[in-house]
Symmetry: C2
Subunit: 233 residues, 2 copies
DNA sequence: CGGAGAGTTGACTGTGTTCAAGCACCGTGG
DNA sequence: CCACGGTGCTTGAACACAGTCAACTCTCCG
């Protein structure tokens, strides 16, 4: 992972931004940079945003892994999505001022912060940016539909395989993973809470993946042994 | 339900549009009407759109109930969301030309059709429309997050209750339901496919709701017996 | 060395599934 | 008016996938 010392980087040259939220020209990115109010650093396992709080800033992940989640009575937790470098945390803040979910860091995380009001003006004033914000929104809705289909109609084995494959592919698309090994900071508890399973059962499923010689996940390291078999799920 | 003979209605006076997609001024609505290429009528239980086909038109539901769904190998089906009058079927068509899901009518349905390209231009040219399209997109993402939480971390009883309550409230917000009784065209099979259950088990859950004197669903008619208890789920 | 957190194991339980048969309702046609 | 067939809902018994609980291990880290 990139070290914090690498910041500040100008948005126009930001290697993250281009992989997710906006892939446009340098001039627009330079204008965007004028809206940036700073950046912040969180250690691993810290709450970045708590559901229902007023959020004065738009956040974009510069480095590290995080996740969106909801807490329910009885200690139940549902992880809604995993956030990777380049992902905006809170586009809905363009139209509302409180988010219906919480956000927590998985690794140590660096976020870039933007003023909420002027960010909204920026998006409204640049049709191309607005279009890409729309595209991002639709893509994440399509991802939510896939996850919904996983929870509703696929087995635990399929769910775990597909979640891991999705994350590998997203990391590769950003140029943050290449070989058959990568850092994978989701623990069994996180995978379970993302897929509607228990941590114990997730452990059994992972063991089966290992004995099937498809993948091995151990202490934050993921190794793909048979990618073709994984893609077939 | 409004009869087909009520069409054509000008968008500026459309009682549906204001309840969901766009709540703006008359002039903008009049411009929108110029983009409308017509309307179409489907009987109940017909496929309106099949996943992966090229979609040359944007559709907005004028009257009737429909749903978005995905089909999986082995005859499995996941219903992604229920579409009510006023809901746009396919906003993602603003940025892509094929949808990753299918759409089917539940009752007889009337849809208004708009040219895809000029609709995109219309949205891009009207910041307020773009903003409301964004708001709609974020709202449906929040709804998807809720449903995900249902499937992942709530019991069958809670899921069924919350789905029914959500639909009642959406209908009321549109002024299409008022009393303690309403038409409810989702069958047990549909509820099951929306919530990741089997139709048989859904039947047992509905029976329990009836014996708990909370609600009764029978032959397309829904009656709410104890709304407070339903809201508590 | 000791403690905390994450992961593992095994036995048991339970929610929800599966399969097959039967029933009720409803539109159709004689 | 009634027989017919289809669809959707109901019932019951057996089963399975995944959950629960409690004890144990491992590794990291102070």
């Amino acid at each position: 992972m990139m070290l914090m010392s690498a910041l500040p980087v100008s948005c126009a040259q930001c290697p993250r931004l281009k992989t997710a939220f906006y892939r446009g020209d340098h001039q627009t990115l330079a204008e965007m940079e004028a809206l940036r109010t700073g950046h912040r650093h969180y250690p691993a396992k810290r709450t970045i945003y708590r559901e229902g709080e007023i959020a004065p800033e738009m956040l974009i992940i510069f480095d590290g892994w995080a996740f969106r989640y909801k807490l329910l009575p009885g200690g139940r937790r549902q992880i809604l999505s995993v956030l990777l470098p380049g992902d905006p945390i809170s586009l809905p803040l363009l139209t509302i001022d409180r988010l219906p979910f919480s956000v927590q860091s998985l690794t140590s995380v660096t976020v870039c912060t933007f003023g909420r009001g002027c960010f909204a003006d920026f998006v409204a004033g640049h049709p191309l940016v607005a279009r890409q914000a729309g595209a991002w929104c639709f893509a994440s809705q399509a991802a939510a539909d896939e996850r919904l289909t996983d929870l509703g109609r696929r087995s635990a084995y399929e769910r775990v395989g597909r979640l891991i494959l999705e994350l590998i592919m997203r990391m590769e698309a950003k140029g943050l993973a290449t070989g058959s090994q990568m850092l994978f900071p989701l623990g069994q508890t996180h995978i379970a809470d993302a897929l509607g399973l228990t941590a114990i059962h997730t452990g059994r499923v992972l063991r089966r993946f290992r004995s099937d010689r498809i993948l091995s996940l151990h202490r934050g390291r993921l190794e793909i042994l048979n990618r073709a078999a994984l893609c077939k799920l």
